[in-house]
């Protein structure tokens, strides 16, 4: 398992290099200029050109490429072209908020989604199944920003239970959780829908397996058959979905971060893209790539915990 982990981590380096190279090229192909974005339209062309030079954008592309790469190898993600703040510092500030939100969304998704998926599977084509599937479909159809606004109007504006905006400091757990509740619920409801559907379909497949029939034939209780034998195998694709969705949620959380005015990695990325902040965007996407690699690795390793037959060689 250790060798497998090390091998996977080593493979991550060429992956991240490819990510960096693609981002480096694509952001420069798109029209737009970070100097114009930084200075606004009132600045003269001379001022824009002067800033472009200061930003290092007039150097040949290969020099810009090499300079940034050399920085990465030293652990330096560079400085934002717009605010001048080190990208590493931006990531350090934003990432905990994004991870907190994503983790909370996944936990809610797992806590609500797995039982609902089981219920809909074991009560197939009966009322709980219809209700569960309909709710899952609704959850999947609502965009995060719209769901967020509905939750704000209901729980913040009408009931005044939770704040509308901000993230709450980590030092104050109560305030932090109050600020986290609605954004986490927004992502959690969407996640629940994914997990419900995946758990249901996976469990239905497993329940048709021979060993399940054997278990029933030898007189095991239905609860033992479902929870002890079938569910364990059915959970592998669910964990895959959780892993994939965790990576997707980190990126998708941007709309939630915007609606709830929370800092976060997704919001930083969109902002960097809008401002053509090449340096910040490159750094953020490489970090995002690293997170995806890491989440995938953790997901793959978790299969072994669920199913001991799986070996890492």
């Amino acid at each position: 398992m250790v060798r497998y982990t090390v091998r996977r981590l080593l493979v991550a380096f060429p992956t991240l290099l490819a990510v960096y190279t693609l981002v480096f090229l694509f952001v420069r192909v798109a029209p737009g200029d970070p100097a114009v974005a930084a200075l606004g339209d009132y600045a003269s062309a001379e001022a824009v050109q002067a800033l472009r030079e200061r930003m290092g954008l007039t150097a040949p592309l290969w020099i810009q490429y090499g300079r940034t790469l050399a920085g990465y190898l030293r652990g330096d993600l560079g400085r934002s072209l717009i605010t001048g703040i080190p990208v590493g510092q931006q990531v350090a500030t934003a990432l905990p908020h994004t991870l907190e939100l994503t983790f909370a969304g996944i936990v809610i998704g797992a806590i609500l989604g797995i039982p609902t998926g089981i219920l809909t599977a074991v009560r197939r084509n009966r009322l709980p199944d219809y209700v569960g599937r309909t709710l899952a479909l609704v959850g999947l159809s609502i965009p995060a920003f719209y769901l967020g606004i509905l939750l704000i109007l209901g729980f913040a504006v009408q009931l005044r239970w939770f704040p509308v905006m901000g993230s709450g400091p980590f030092s104050d757990a109560r305030a932090n959780l109050r600020h986290l509740a609605l954004p986490a619920l927004t992502l959690g409801i969407i996640m629940t829908s994914f997990v419900t559907r995946m758990t249901r379909s996976s469990l239905l497949t497993v329940l048709r397996e021979d060993y399940v029939r054997t278990g029933r034939a030898k007189g095991l209780r239905e609860r033992t058959v479902v929870y002890l034998h079938a569910l364990r195998n059915a959970l592998i694709p669910v964990v895959s979905v959780l892993g994939i969705q965790a990576a997707v949620l980190i990126g998708d959380s941007v709309m939630t971060e915007i609606v709830f005015s929370r800092p976060g990695l997704g919001r930083l990325m969109v902002q960097a893209m809008m401002q053509r902040d090449y340096i910040a965007l490159q750094g953020l996407i490489v970090i995002y790539g690293a997170l995806v690699v890491l989440v995938n690795l953790v997901t793959d390793l978790s299969y072994g915990l669920i199913d001991p037959r799986i070996r890492y060689e």
């Binding site: 029209p31 737009g32 974005a37 003269s44 001022a47 002067a50 915007i258």
Partner: protein, 520 residues
């Protein structure tokens, strides 16, 4: 003994009020860009800078038509108009910063440093405004500015006012903080910088040693909230006190009906102008440009945007600036180009396009640009002009229009003087791509250079305004652009917020927070 208790009670009460008196303003922005005032250009950045820094003179809060002393107590100009002398207010304290925990007294050395920085293209976006100027510290409280060519007060004073390059950046903290100054600004204003949480907020605290007296508010938080529903919800729940609104009639009317909310619609507003690219066929033809003008109903566009937020604009310079041409004056000259579809079709036929023609243009996704442009598109279609629109993001739009790809450019702008409007949009040197200093002359007009330059160095205000108006008349005759309307700014606030002045117009483009602003 009883008196002591009374004093203690008052102190505690004041303390509690002060604690509560933190004003929260939410802007339609994802994050700040820079808080170096010589680079700050976006509204949310100008707003913060405005609370932290001062100019030598300032626009009267709430009214941009009048100047009053700021860091300078008084000033005079020599009879030849070449030397301006400013007498600084003593005991103006620079905010504390690393290396000077108590701050220090601002002197002429700081002012000269700041003006030199504003004039340096490597340290300022507004260097072009200070070409041909020298700055001298005569004594600790006297600053002299010597001009190569005399300028009228209406052109000179904005350069040293609380706007753009005119904000005074103290030398000590700028040199001590280096690149960090852009996100840790230090000035002399009523509030001082406390904290920046990226993509969330900037926190300012009261400057107790502010030279006009300690502010009534304990502090100000500027929040970055790009979603308008979230901003409005936060206003309703009382989490914020002031929000940037939507510059549309429907939004204004809806919020006006909300209990406890007040909507401020104020100037100066940004000009919304359709620039006609005279270098691209068939716009090269005057009759085609006239046909475009007669095909568009300015009133129809304004109705779509909303009469509360949009006012007709009939010339290149808005009427509230010195030298601006009013609609009545344009009408007097017969240059209003009121909608006349019959005439538009006849002009197209005379130009050789009886069935109209098709053109393509880019527009930004921003609603304040896109909506009027789509309205114009629909109106032009009535006379057979098919305008194909491609919507792109704002940054791409700015790049593309500066590459001269559009035959029609819808542009939204605020400039602080008639000279700035005319030079940047209509002087041949400013022509996109081909000009000596390529800027925003999208129409490629060349005919008003002489008038713009003559007006710039005219010292008689009446004659200067006359020259500016003459240039605008010429531009209307030539139809280098079709002015549509002035779009005002919209902010909503809790009725408990008292700005401390009457808000008519604000050059900072947000309702200014001053030492007199309070939450009732």
């Amino acid at each position: 003994m009883r008196r002591w208790w009374a004093v203690l009670a008052v102190v505690l009460a004041v303390g509690l009020v002060s604690q509560a008196q933190v004003l929260r303003i939410a802007f339609d922005a994802a994050d700040l860009k820079t808080l170096d005032p010589h680079y700050a250009a976006a509204t949310m950045d100008r707003a913060v800078v405005d609370m932290l820094f001062n100019g030598l003179v300032r626009y009267k809060p709430g009214d941009i038509t009048a100047f009053e002393p700021d860091l300078a107590e008084s000033w005079e100009v020599s009879t030849d108009g070449l030397t301006w002398t400013f007498h600084l207010r003593p005991k103006v304290q620079v905010h504390p910063f690393p290396g000077a925990p108590e701050g220090y007294e601002l002197t002429s050395e700081d002012v000269v440093f700041s003006l030199q920085k504003a004039a340096d293209k490597d340290r300022s976006a507004y260097a072009g405004e200070y070409v041909g100027m020298r700055f001298e510290a005569v004594d600790p409280y006297t600053v002299r500015i010597i001009l190569d060519k005399a300028l009228s007060p209406s052109l000179f004073l904005p350069k040293v006012a609380d706007y753009a390059g005119g904000f005074i950046v103290p030398k000590g903290p700028y040199e001590a903080l280096g690149p960090r100054f852009a996100t840790n600004p230090v000035g002399t204003g009523p509030f001082q910088f406390a904290e920046y949480v990226p993509t969330q907020k900037v926190r300012l605290v009261r400057n107790d040693r502010y030279f006009r007296g300690a502010p009534l508010l304990a502090g100000v938080e500027v929040w970055y909230m790009p979603d308008v529903t979230a901003r409005l919800s936060a206003l309703v729940t009382g989490e914020v006190h002031v929000i940037e609104g939507v510059r549309e009639q429907a939004w204004v009317e809806a919020v006006k009906r909300m209990p406890g909310a007040v909507v401020d619609v104020f100037g100066p507003g940004e000009t919304e102008v359709l620039h006609l690219n005279m270098s691209k066929d068939p716009i090269t033809n005057l009759q085609v440009r006239q046909a475009i003008a007669y095909a568009i109903s300015r009133e129809e566009v304004i109705t779509a945007i909303g009469p509360d937020v949009a006012e007709p604009l009939c010339a290149a310079v808005p009427p509230y600036l010195a030298g601006g041409l009013t609609c009545a004056e344009a009408a007097e000259k017969g240059l209003l180009y009121e909608a006349n579809l019959e005439l538009a079709r006849n002009l197209l036929a005379a130009a050789g396009y009886p069935n109209g023609f098709a053109i393509s243009a880019y527009i930004t996704e921003r609603a304040s640009y896109r909506k009027p442009f789509e309205n114009v598109q629909a109106q032009l279609a009535r006379v057979g002009i098919r305008l194909n629109i491609t919507v792109v993001d704002h940054s791409s739009f700015h790049t593309l229009i500066r590459q001269d790809v559009n035959p029609l450019v819808h542009y939204e702008a605020w400039r602080p003087s008639a000279d700035a409007f005319l030079t940047r949009f209509y002087h041949s040197a400013s022509t996109v791509v081909t000009g000596a200093k390529p800027d925003t002359n999208f129409s490629h007009v060349t005919s008003v250079d002489g008038l713009i330059e003559a007006a710039r160095y005219e010292l008689d205000p009446a004659r200067q305004a006359e020259l500016w108006k003459e240039a605008q008349v010429k531009l209307l005759e030539e139809l280098a652009s079709y002015p549509l309307y002035v779009l005002k700014f919209v902010f909503a606030r809790s009725e408990k917020v008292d700005y401390g002045y009457v808000l008519r117009s604000s050059l900072a483009l947000y309702p200014q927070v001053t030492e007199l602003t309070r939450i009732k």
